[in-house]
Symmetry: D3
Subunit: 125 residues, 6 copies
C-alpha cells in the first residue's frame, strides 16, 4: 500500500460558543497546518500515488475557501461547531466531492492547531 | 473515522540491565515526548473526538506518576525492562484503566526518545 | 554568554485593516508559537540563566492576557496593527516591565505564525 | 500492537524524464529523510519490537547503497521513474529481502522529500 | 531590534569534486530548506520588518533560478564548490543585489541540508 | 559571516539536588539534542566553515564521554549542578580544548532538553 501526503496551512478566526469549550468559546483563531494523505494499493503508470504538484494545487484550492476567514460566518459551519475535527472533516468532504478518486482506497486529513494538539479525519473510499 | 492527539513529555532515568542493550544497560535517561491518540467512528455532539483540554489533563495525570522518576524503582516496571515500547504500553494501559472509553475504537501512545527513534503501542478497544 | 529559551503558544483572532496586508486585512486568526530567550554573560549560583519553571510561568502569565482573544479589541493594540512583529514587541515589553532583569543583557521574543514565517523582537538591556 | 521507528536520511540526484513531472524532469536532487517502522502484535522477550541499534544499522546498510548517488544510474531504477514512492518501495523491498521478519506483521517506509511532501510504502507481512 | 524570517526550499543536484568531500564528491543532490531573515532597528509605518508576502515572493524568485537544477552547470558556481555555505552566500548576494534594503541592518540566509546539518551566511548592511 | 551547525544527541541521567529545582532535584534524565555552531568571517579554500563530516565526528567524540551516563558521577560536574546550561558550557569547553580553532570567531552549543526548553552557551574566540 502506498500513500502520498502534502502539507499546507490556513489562518482562520472562529469561536466555539458553548461552555464545554471553556475560553475557546470566545472569538479567537488558529493557524491550522493541514496534511492530506491519499492511499492506493499500487502506484500508477508514472510510479506515483498522485502527482505532488497536482495534490498541492488541489489542497490549496480547497483551503483558499477557508484562509483568512472567520469560520463563524462560513456557510459550511452553520449549525455546528467549527472544531479542529469538524474542519478536518469538511476538508476531507471537499476533497472527495471535487476529485476523481477512482483507484484510491482512503483520504486522510490532519489539522495541527498548535504544537501539542492535532486531529485527523480518515475516510475509506 | 476521527482521531484526536495531544502531546506532552516526561524526563526519566532508567537502565536496561542486559548485554542486549549495549551501553543503554547503564543508568542513563531520556526525555520521552509522548503523543496519545484517541479514535472514534463519529464525532460526539460537540463535534469532537474528546475535548482537547480534558485529553491533555488526562495525559498529564498519567505522566505525573513517571515524570522526574528513576523507572528502575517504579513498581510498574518490576521484573521487566522499561524500554520505550514497554513505557508506551504502560501509558496505554493506565489511560484505558482510568478513562471511560465507551464510543472509542482505539487508543494509541507514541513515545519519541530522540529525533531518530520512537515507539508506538496501539490498543483496539 | 549563556541563553535560556522557553516556548509556549497562544491562539488569537485579529485583522490588519489596510490594503497593504492583502487578504490578512480580513478578520482571521493565528496560533502564535512563542519563544522567549533570556541572555546573561555568566550563570547564576545555581548554574542557570533563569529557572526553566520560573521562565515558563512568567511567559504563561504574559500570554494569558492574549490567549483566546480578539486582538482588535485588546487595549495594547489600539491605534496600531497587531502584526506578528508588533505582538512580539508587546510580549517583550511586558516581560521587561514585569521582571527583575538585573544581570541579564538581552531579552528576545520570537513568534512563529505558520511553518514558513516568524518574527523576532530583541531588546538589549 | 507495537511499532518501532528509526529515522535516517540520504542525499541523491535523479531526474524524472517525463513531461508529467514538469520541472522535476530535469536532473535535480533531494534529501530524503527516511523513517522505517516495524510492527508486531506483542513485544519480544527483551520488551522490544526490534532493538533500536540493530534497526538503525539495518536501515543504514540499505541506505548506503543509495546515498550520494545519481539514481538515474542505479540498477534498481532501470526502466522506471525513481519517484519518492518508488524509492520508498525499493527500501521496503530491500529491508524485507535482507531481514528475518518472523513475528513481524508489517514494515512501513516513509520518505520526506521536503517539509511539505512525503510518501509511504507499507507492506503487510 | 526586529527580524522577520520566511522559509522555502529548493531541490538541486550537484557534486563537490574534491577528495576533501569524501562521497559527496560524487554527483548527488539535496533538498535545501532555505530561511531568510531581514533585520531592522525599528518597524516601518505598517508595523512590519518587511511584508511577509513580499518577502516570500522575493525569496521564491531568487530560488527559482536554482530549483530543479544541477548546480554543476549553473554559472554562479563556476570555479568554486557549491557547498551549503557557498549556496547560502549566493542567495544572500542575490537578495542584496535585487532588493532596496534601505533601513535594514542585516540579511541572513540559512540552508538546512538534512535534519542534522545547516549553514548560515549573514551580511551586515 | 558564515556559520555551520551540526546536530546530535545524548541520553543521560542526573539529579539537581537543591530545593531550587523542585521535582528535578530527584534522579531523572534527559535526551539532550545538541547543536554546535562554528562561526568564521570568510569561508576556507574549500568553500566551507568546517567540513560537515569532520564537525559531526568532533561533536560525536565529545558527546561519547557523556552518552548513557549518570552525570552525578561524571568528574566534569563535581561540585556543580549539571543543568542544561552547565552541560552546554562543558561541551563548549571540550570543543575549544580539543580543536584547532584558528580562523574561527565563535563556537556556540545549544542543548534542547524537551520541545519547550533549551539553553545555549556561546564563546567568542
Amino acid at each position: 500500500m502506498y500513500e502520498l501526503t502534502v502539507r499546507d496551512h490556513v489562518m482562520i478566526a472562529h469561536s466555539l460558543p458553548d461552555a464545554f469549550f471553556g475560553p475557546a468559546a470566545r472569538l479567537h483563531g488558529a493557524t491550522f497546518v493541514v496534511e492530506v494523505t491519499w492511499s492506493r494499493p499500487e502506484l500508477d503508470s508514472h510510479g506515483v500515488v498522485i502527482d505532488i504538484g497536482a495534490a498541492a494545487t488541489r489542497l490549496s484550492e480547497v483551503l483558499s475557501d477557508l484562509n483568512y476567514r472567520n469560520l463563524d460566518e462560513h456557510p459550511a459551519f452553520v449549525g455546528r461547531f467549527s472544531t479542529t475535527e469538524v474542519v478536518a472533516g469538511h476538508i476531507c468532504d471537499r476533497l472527495i466531492a471535487t476529485m476523481d478518486l477512482a483507484g484510491f482506497t482512503a483520504v486522510m486529513v490532519t489539522l495541527r492547531e498548535h504544537p501539542d494538539a492535532w486531529a485527523t479525519c480518515r475516510v475509506e473510499l
